[in-house]
Amino acid sequence: MKPYTMTVSPDFMPDYIAGWYIFNTWLQRQLGENIHLELYNDFATQREAIGRDEIDLIYANPFDAAMLVREKGFIAIAAPLDKPDEVVLSVPVDSPIKTLDDLKSGTRIARTDDPDVNLIGMMMIEAADLNADNTDVQMVDSYVLVAKALFQERADLGFFLQEAYHSLSDFVKNQLRVLLSSEIHVVKHVLLASPNFVAHQETLKACLLDMPNRDKGQGVLDSMGLSGWQEQTQEDTEFMIDLMDTLV
């Protein structure tokens, strides 16, 4: 039988690539199913694969959850424990910008292609009357490059996933300052299963929620940078999608 395909939102931290492969091996053993892990370099290529119905399991960015759940019929299985997607707006350490209201039209923004971070970031600066039309947005390949654009003063403001910001080296962080952090709490990555995977849905959920207690489970979680999984109901996910929809 053709193996199932699992994929991971391309915004995961590079340090955890190996962890996802280890997780896949662990999961196959737990479920007794063949699963192939396919990683994509960027969101656009991953969305094309989703469009061709090639994906059965996905650790999805909240931004893509809307399309997966509402257009493709994916079902919510679990969310990472205590790991909401929060955004850090950061400026160079000596920047004259002290509060959101100091941001002016023409602000140069450095960011990655991470869709939920960009959505939340743009929403946060809208309070200072900034939008896509009166800012100059530079898209770079990683959060390290966002930081670099800031301390080399090629950008005035950077959008970071909070987790990525905090994992920057102290040397880099010392050259930056946090302007504002989001505290939204309910926007998070979710593990979703396609309608094709429905037969294994309950086993998968039970297995993830019990992961720290199962053979090697804790070690696998550590290698993915997760502390565990928590239940994510379909309604939790629908609510998150409604909320994201208000921010678009």
Binding site: M124, L243, T246
Partner: protein, 148 residues
Amino acid sequence: MQVLVHHDGSRREVFVTDKEVPFPEGKLIVSRTNKHGVITHGNQSFVEMSGFTEDELIGHSHHILRHPDMPKAAFKDLWDTLARGEKWSGYVKNLRKDGAYYWVLATVVANVRQGEVVGYTSVRRKPSRQRIAECIEQYQQLCAQEVS
């Protein structure tokens, strides 16, 4: 005390002061209602900013937060827009239990489940000072027209 006239003509006396409470930076104020605008859920910021307890809010019509400076026309537009199946956005001045107020930029969407509208979600974010200044003027004019 000021008198608030609801869309159905009923009246309520409310305590109003001119103290403004700033929007909590970085947060979102979220509440949900059933199809009739009765509050079913609110996040922590929603409860804190309102000055009411969660028990006082849940089960109550969302007009519990209505400020007398808000024109009826704004909420008519909200409900008309939702009835057309569209998302509504607008600047809202809300009244707290202690009489103070806070401005928000609210966006309301329908919660559609299995093809049916089961309720609504409102997500409020920090509004721009400039847009608030424009709204104050516009809402004053609308309120004046509504009384005359």
